[in-house]
Amino acid sequence: MRWSMVIDLDKCVACQGCSIACRFENNTPVVNPAEAVKGRAVRWNDVFPMPINPTEETGEFPNVKTRYITRPCMHCDNPPCVKVCPVQATYKDDEGLVRQNYARCIGCRFCTVACPYGVRYFNWYAPEWEEPMSEHLNPDRIEGDGDLEGPAIRPKGVVEKCTFCIHRLRKARARAEAEGRPFRADEYVPACVQTCTGKARFFGDLDDPNSTVSLLAKSPRAFRLLEEVGTHPKVIYLREG
C-alpha cells in the first residue's frame, strides 16, 4: 500500500475548510499573535496564493492572474527530511507515510530546513490551550514504546507536520481486525479529504492501479510540486482549466 492524495485545483475554492478541519482533528495549537506575524503559525495543511507575493507573471490590473493552492505534507517517496534527521525521529514507513515521532525528536530542525515544501513546523513554545478551548481536543494519539505521534499534544521543542491522519488509519485497521475481515484502502480518509466542500481532494492507494488516485494521477492535468528536485512527492495536483 502506498498512500497518496490527489487535489483537483479546478474544484478547490481556497475556502480553508481543509485547514480548519485538520487543525481540530490534530490538535494544532494556535500560536501567540506576535509569533504568527513571524511566520510561526502551525499549518499542517496550508492554503495560500501561488506565488505568495505578486510578480511580473501575476500580471497588472486589470489582467491579474491569482491562483491559490492547498498544501498538506507531500509524503515524498524520496524525502529529504528523513535523510537529515540525526535521530531517526522522522522516517518513511512501509506504506509510504513519512512519520514524525515526537518522543524521539530533539528539535534540531534540520528536517524543517531540508523540506523544500515548508510543511514542517517547530514548537518554539509549549502549546497552550486556554480554558475552555482545551475541552475540544481530540483524544486520539499513536503512543507506546518510545513512540508519540499524530494528534497527541506536542511538547515544546519538537517538529510536527501532517500525518495523513495516521490515527484514522490505525482506527480503521483496528476496526477491520475486530470485525475479522481484511482492511480496504477506501475505509479511511484524512480529515481534510472528508471535509472538502468542493470535493476537490481524493485519497487512496497508489499501488492499486484501479484506485481513484491512480486513475487521476494519469490525467493530463496532473502535476506535482517541485518535481525537478527529485523528492517524488505523493500529493498529486490536477491543474485548473
Binding site: 475554492v13 480553508q16 466542500t197
Partner: protein
C-alpha cells in the same frame, strides 16, 4: 426576484446544469448566504460533469471568486444595472431572446399604447434598446463595448445560462439602485428563458407543514397588528418589508418602544454607524438579548438570556438555494452546558405564564413539541426525521410555463399588490402599485424620479423598470477618492461570535498573509500615487469616522476602490475578538435608503493617508 418574478426569497440557481454562469458580485465563492451550496455547485460546474462550464465574475474586486473565474470584469462600482441592461440590449438586438417566454409569459416587455396608439408607457424592450447601447454602457461602467457585446453573445449563446446575484454584500446592494440592479440581472435570466429552467433560476420550494392553528385575534393583537412597525417598513419606507437598522433612527426621532428583544442581532456592531444604537437603547426601558456571547449590543441589555449554541438546541432549517424542498432538524448533540433555554422554549414558557388567551395559542410545552407538530405532515414520522436529521424531496420539478403549478409556485406566488397571474414582470407592477400613485415631489422625497437618469423624457417614467441609478455617494470624490468596500471573508464570516475563535483569527487573512487583525486592500497604482508601500500603517477616513490599519497592496482591485475585511474591531464578544483590528461598519454611511429602508453598505467614499 420579488419585484420581477413575485417570489420573496433569495433565488436558487441550478448551477449544476449551467453552461455559463455570469456572477454579478464577487461573493460567489466567499461568505454569501449559502456558501456550501454555491461552492459545491461551482465545483460541479467545473469538474463534476463532462463539459466544463464557464464562469464570469463582475465586481470591482477580484477576490477568490474572480481568481477562480474564467474572466474577471472589474466594473465601475455601483454600475451593475447598466451592465446588465447593456447585455440585455445586445441580446435583444441580436435576436437572441427566448421569444416564447417574453411574448407569452411576461408582462411589460413591449410598450403599452393607449387606444389611439400613443405610447403611454415604454416597455422593457424599447427602454433598453433606446437607453443602454454598449457605447453608453461603456462610459458608465468602464467595461469596453466590445466586451459587453461578446459577453452578451456568450451568455445567450451558451444555454443554459444563468446570471446570479450572490445575495450578500459587496458593492452591488444597499441603495435603491442596487434593487434596480438586482431586477436588471434577474431580467437577463428571463430574457434567455432561464426562469424555472434546467441550468437557470429555481424557485425555492418548501415541505408541507402543518398549519398553525387558526385563532381568534384578541384586542391586544388587533392593536399590535394595526400599529405602524417600529422600523417604518411599509410606511416611512414604502417598499420595505423590514428595515432593521432604521429602528435606531426612529426611536431616536421619538417613536416609542417599550421592550426590545435582540435575537441573533448585534446592531451596535454590525450595522453601518451602529454606535447610534447606543443612544437609541437609552430610550428603551427594557432590553432583552438572547446572544450566546456577550456582544457589543448585549452589553446594553437589561436582561441577557443566552441561547444555547447550535450544538445544544432544537431548530428547523429549511433548504435554501437548492430549489427542492427539505428541512434540516437541528437537535442537541450534547445537553446544554449551562442553564440556558432556546428562544423557542423561552417564548413558550412566557406564553404559559401570561395565561389565556395567549397560553392557548401556544399549547406546546417545549419547542421540540412545536417542531414535531409543524413537521407532522412532512412525509416521514418524527422518529425517522430525528434519526436522519433531515427530510427532503430531492429532485426539483420544473413547472410547465403557464401551468397551474407555474402560477401557484413559480411566478407571482408572493405578490402582495400585483396580480398573481404567472406573468414575469419586466415592468414591475408591484413597484407600480406602491410608487405609481405618488407624484413627482413625493417620489423625489424618496430619492426617485420619473424621468430616466440622463434627463430624457420617458413616457411613464422609469420608476417601475429596472434601470441604472447613479449611486448617491456620501463624500465628494475630490476629497474622498475611494469607494469603501467592506468585505466578508470566508474565514471569519458575518457572525460576530466567529471573531472569538483563535483558529479562525490565525487563518483569517489567507489571501494576503495576515492574521489576527485588519488590513486595507489597495491597488498598487493607487498606493504609488499616495506614496504608500505594502504594510504601511494608514488611516482610512470617511465623512463619518476614521480607522487606523495596515495597507496591503492587492493587484486584483480597481484603483478607485479599497477593501476592508469585516468582523474585526470588536469591543466585546470575547477575549480573542476584543480590541483587535477595526470595524468597517463604523465608517459607513448610517442613513437608510428612503424608499426601501436599505442599510447603506455601498455608498461611502473614503480617503487614505499614511498614519
Amino acid at each position: 426576484m420579488y419585484l420581477t418574478q413575485g417570489i420573496y426569497d433569495l433565488p436558487a440557481y441550478d448551477l449544476e446544469n449551467s453552461n455559463y454562469v455570469l456572477s454579478f458580485g464577487a461573493s460567489l465563492l466567499e461568505a454569501g448566504p449559502f456558501p456550501q451550496r454555491m461552492v459545491s455547485g461551482y465545483s460541479y460546474v467545473r469538474r463534476g460533469r463532462a463539459d466544463r462550464g464557464k464562469v464570469v465574475v463582475i465586481d470591482p474586486r477580484q477576490g477568490v471568486s474572480g481568481a477562480k473565474a474564467d474572466e474577471w470584469i472589474p466594473i465601475n462600482p455601483g454600475t451593475d444595472a447598466a451592465l446588465a441592461l447593456g447585455l440585455a440590449n445586445v441580446i435583444i438586438r441580436a435576436g437572441l431572446v427566448d421569444s416564447n417566454f417574453v411574448n407569452n409569459y411576461s408582462f411589460g416587455y413591449e410598450d403599452f399604447p393607449d387606444g389611439s396608439g400613443t405610447v403611454l408607457h415604454k416597455g422593457f424592450k424599447n427602454f433598453v434598446l433606446e437607453n443602454y447601447d454598449p457605447a453608453r454602457v461603456e462610459e458608465i461602467t468602464g467595461v469596453p463595448a466590445t466586451t459587453i457585446s461578446r459577453l452578451a453573445g456568450e451568455f445567450a449563446g451558451n444555454k443554459p445560462a444563468v446570471a446570479i446575484l450572490p445575495g450578500k454584500g459587496g458593492l452591488l446592494n444597499g441603495t435603491l439602485g442596487g434593487v434596480y440592479a438586482a431586477m436588471a440581472v434577474h431580467c437577463l435570466n428571463a430574457l434567455v428563458g432561464s426562469i424555472d429552467a434546467r441550468g437557470g433560476v429555481l424557485t425555492q420550494r418548501y415541505p408541507i407543514l402543518q398549519k398553525w392553528p387558526d385563532l381568534p385575534v384578541d384586542t391586544v393583537a388587533q392593536q399590535g397588528c394595526g400599529a405602524e412597525r417600529i422600523d417604518g417598513a411599509g410606511t416611512q419606507f414604502p417598499l420595505a418589508r423590514d428595515a432593521y437598522q432604521a429602528v435606531a433612527d426612529r426611536v431616536l426621532a421619538g417613536h416609542p418602544l417599550e421592550v426590545l428583544f435582540l435575537y441573533d442581532a448585534n446592531p451596535v456592531y454590525e450595522v453601518p454607524g451602529g454606535a447610534r444604537f447606543v443612544g437609541a437603547f437609552d430610550k428603551i426601558p427594557f432590553i432583552v438579548s438572547f446572544a450566546s456571547f456577550m456582544d457589543e449590543s448585549a452589553q446594553y441589555a437589561d436582561l441577557v438570556l443566552p441561547e444555547p449554541t447550535f450544538l445544544e438546541r432544537y431548530e428547523d432549517h429549511f433548504f435554501e438555494g437548492l430549489g427542492y424542498p427539505g428541512v434540516g432538524l437541528r437537535q442537541p448533540v450534547i445537553s446544554p452546558r449551562h442553564d440556558t433555554l432556546s428562544v423557542g422554549d423561552f417564548f413558550l414558557r412566557v406564553a404559559a405564564a401570561v395565561g389565556d388567551p395567549v397560553a392557548r395559542a401556544f399549547p406546546w410545552k417545549t419547542y421540540e413539541e412545536a417542531l414535531r407538530f409543524r413537521l407532522a405532515d412532512v412525509g416521514a414520522d418524527w422518529q425517522m426525521v430525528s434519526e436522519l436529521g433531515v427530510w427532503m424531496t430531492p429532485g426539483y420539478r420544473f413547472a410547465r410555463r403557464g401551468s397551474d403549478k407555474w402560477v401557484k409556485e413559480v411566478v407571482g406566488r408572493d405578490r402582495r399588490n400585483a396580480p398573481r397571474d404567472g406573468y414575469f414582470d419586466f415592468y414591475s407592477r408591484e413597484l407600480n402599485c406602491i410608487l405609481g400613485t405618488l407624484d413627482e415631489s413625493q417620489l423625489s422625497a424618496l430619492g426617485l424620479s420619473r424621468g430616466d437618469t440622463s434627463g430624457r423624457p420617458l413616457p411613464g417614467g422609469a420608476v417601475s423598470l429596472p434601470h441604472y441609478e447613479p449611486t448617491p455617494y456620501v463624500g465628494e470624490a475630490a476629497d474622498y477618492p475611494f469607494t469603501l468596500n467592506v468585505i466578508t471573508l470566508m474565514s471569519l464570516g458575518p457572525v460576530s461570535a466567529a471573531a472569538n475563535l483563535p483558529t479562525l483569527q490565525e487563518n483569517s487573512g489567507m489571501t494576503v498573509g495576515e492574521t489576527w487583525g485588519s488590513w486595507l486592500e489597495i491597488n498598487p497604482e493607487a498606493a504609488r500615487e499616495l506614496g504608500l508601500n505594502d504594510k504601511d500603517e494608514v488611516w482610512v477616513e470617511s465623512p463619518f469616522g476614521k480607522a487606523r490599519t495596515k495597507a496591503r497592496i492587492v493587484k486584483g482591485l480597481r484603483p478607485d476602490v479599497v477593501n476592508l475585511p469585516y468582523n474585526q474591531g470588536h469591543t466585546a464578544v470575547g477575549r480573542w475578538a476584543k480590541d483587535r483590528g477595526v470595524n468597517g461598519m463604523a465608517l459607513l454611511n448610517p442613513a437608510s435608503e428612503p424608499a426601501a429602508g436599505l442599510a447603506a453598505f455601498t455608498n461611502t467614499r473614503v480617503k487614505v493617508y499614511r498614519a
